[in-house]
């Protein structure tokens, strides 16, 4: 789950909802609507912004992989019409704050950058069904590219706190676009591998070799976001080793709740509508060869 722009998902293998009940079901609390005050907002790298919101009702129940809808229109303005879905990067439950890292990709996110401390942003969250840590997990791999890493960072913290060894790959076009590495290290990840296109380290070859080496020594689950190429590598590994894969998808959204049907993962010709990214996801598990549990 990442903000704003979306990649086509039509060519990906079939994805399914995470289970509704049991140890592999994500925890989902009802969302809240609030006018969240901006606590901190600033540029952290070229194009990348960090936003901290005072949002106790969201911070109280948010789980890794969930997102929030942020209204871009200010005050009494009635447009931009569509709010922007944003992965929740981190939170402070006791302090009632949530943290979002976003990339400026268009008019909506450009307007978001104008919010300053004390401004109140209409925010709905937590939304969607997030990542699930399996009860017996000892070692997990996180694969994130670009802004996609931002939906994985919180998972690293929760996993590390449970004693799970976290191996994280952070991929980006260039070193300025590497986000999340610091958050992973702070969360206690045992390995943070940062790779970029500019020196070839993010290529399928080296990343595939790194992933294979990790899986050879036993991985309980692979989590991916932000790159079809990384997801394909994960799925290859899943087929070879039986490791389960959870992936967070992105989509344009209008309601974020499930009634507008704007974010179906969408293949035409099916009688049944394909899953909605907001309501059924944004985190899906891969089918059929790699059940989560």
């Amino acid at each position: 789950m990442v903000g704003a722009s979306a990649g086509a998902t039509g060519s990906l293998p079939r994805l399914a909802r995470l289970p509704e009940t049991g140890p592999s079901a994500p925890r989902v609390a009802p969302p809240a609507l609030l006018e969240a005050a901006v606590v901190t907002h600033g540029l952290i790298a070229p194009e990348y912004w960090r936003l901290v919101l005072d949002a106790p009702a969201i911070a109280r129940t948010v789980e890794p992989g969930q997102f929030a809808m942020l209204t871009v229109a200010r005050g009494e303005e009635s447009w931009p019409v569509l709010p922007r879905p944003m992965a929740i990067y981190g939170w402070d439950r006791a302090g009632g704050r949530i943290e979002i890292v976003y990339r400026v990709v268009g008019e909506g996110t450009r307007r978001l950058t104008r919010w300053s401390c004390g401004d109140r942003i209409v925010t709905v969250g937590p939304l969607g069904r997030g990542f699930v840590l399996l009860p017996a997990a000892q070692r997990i791999v996180l694969l994130g590219r670009g802004i996609g890493t931002c939906s994985l960072t919180a998972l690293a913290g929760v996993a590390a706190a449970r004693g799970i060894a976290v191996h994280a790959l952070v991929s980006a076009r260039h070193s300025d676009a590497l986000v999340g590495g610091e958050a992973y290290r702070a969360a206690g990840a045992v390995e943070v591998r940062e790779v970029v296109d500019t020196d070839g380290s993010s290529g399928v070859g080296p990343v595939g070799a790194w992933l294979a080496e990790n899986c050879r020594t036993g991985v309980d689950q692979i989590y991916a976001c932000g790159s079809d190429r990384l997801l394909r590598l994960a799925l290859e590994m899943a087929r070879a080793t039986g490791t389960g894969v959870q992936v967070s998808l992105e989509a344009h959204m209008a309601c974020g709740l499930g009634f507008c049907h704007g974010c179906a993962t969408g293949h035409p010709g099916l009688v049944e509508e394909s899953p909605l990214v907001c309501r059924d996801g944004p985190v899906f598990r891969h089918l059929p060869s790699a059940p989560v549990a």
């Binding site: 969302p31 009635s78 019409v81 009634f259 293949h267 010709g269």
Partner: protein
């Protein structure tokens, strides 16, 4: 103590406690987590088809200047799932439930009407005629007066609650279509559905929505919608429900003056999920400030006589 203004309106035989309701497709039980649905004048479902349909492929949404495009394509889980799973969820709230129905042939409208007739908990139907007519080369069902009249008459014969008709603006004469709906037996007209629009990404050389053409909604279409409401209200004696780009209480008052008895809020609920309940509170306050006893006083009260008769010409 001055009494609170009276917000009640009647859509034919259907009384509403206030004139504000959601537009079809922009509302669902999920909103109950965020707003008090019992405050609304009515609830309106997403369009239900007789049989399941999947809708269009991604991307289904695009932001445009002061508006948005959707190519959702009206996915529906069909009548059976609607009755068994969706309808019961609306019973948590008291406002009357208006069920939007659709079809791709005249017969399909009659089928969904038959399948939902006498189903408990439905206060009215809103016939969505902005669907492609597969019997007429994909032209919208709502583009031809005689087709609209036939659909409305057929639905009306099959159900026991009021039938509203939601008109498409993508026609030559909205008045002619409105009259056809009235002749067919409609209790009210909803004006209007989305305009047909399009957005292009020249860099990828592709449309920005999965289907090249998409429904254009939001504040940008308000003047068109207002004009359609005005024309429809002039053409028929039945009430008109105004919809299209309404985002504020001022917008609501403009539509009511132009002839709307009630209004629907669509895209503005996406911008802020509590738009409808905010507007209802603001409407009460605004009427109170203006000394208006009942919102019904304002319906169609637009003055179109020459203002120059009463306002002196400015010097210079």
């Amino acid at each position: 103590m001055i009494a609170a203004p009276d917000l009640r309106v009647d859509l034919g035989d259907l009384p509403l406690r206030n004139p504000v309701m959601p537009a079809s497709g922009c509302f669902g039980p999920e909103l109950g987590d965020l707003i008090d649905i019992n405050r609304l004048g009515a609830m309106v479902t997403k369009t239900v088809f007789a049989e399941p349909r999947s809708g269009n492929r991604a991307h289904r949404l695009a932001e445009t200047y002061a508006g948005m495009l959707n190519s959702v394509g009206i996915p529906s889980r069909g009548a059976r799932a609607f009755i068994a799973e969706l309808l019961p969820r609306y019973r948590n709230w008291s406002p009357p439930l208006i069920v939007s129905i659709g079809g791709l042939t005249v017969g399909a409208y009659l089928e969904i009407a038959e399948r939902l007739t006498r189903v408990a908990g439905i206060a009215a139907f809103e016939v969505n005629v902005s669907c492609p007519n597969l019997e007429a080369g994909g032209l919208e069902i709502g583009a031809e007066p005689q087709v609209v009249e036939a659909v409305v008459r057929g639905v009306k014969e099959r159900v026991e609650v009021p039938v509203f008709v939601k008109l498409t603006p993508n026609v030559t004469s909205i008045a002619a279509i409105a009259r056809a709906a009235e002749t067919g037996g409609a209790s009210a007209i909803t004006a209007v559905n989305a305009l047909m629009g399009m957005a292009v990404d020249w860099r990828t050389r592709r449309p920005r929505t999965g289907t090249a053409m998409a429904g254009f909604t939001g504040p940008a279409i308000k003047p068109v919608a207002l004009r359609c409401v005005w024309q429809a209200a002039q053409a028929v004696a039945i009430p008109v429900i105004g919809v299209g780009g309404i985002a504020t209480v001022d917008d609501v008052l403009e539509f009511i003056l132009a002839g709307a008895t009630a209004v629907q809020i669509g895209s503005a609920t996406f911008t802020r999920p509590d738009t409808m309940v905010r507007i209802i509170a603001a409407l009460e306050a605004r009427l109170s400030d203006e000394g208006v006893v009942s919102v019904r006083e304002l319906i169609g009260a637009l003055r179109t006589d020459s203002p120059s008769a009463t306002v002196p010409m400015q010097a210079g």
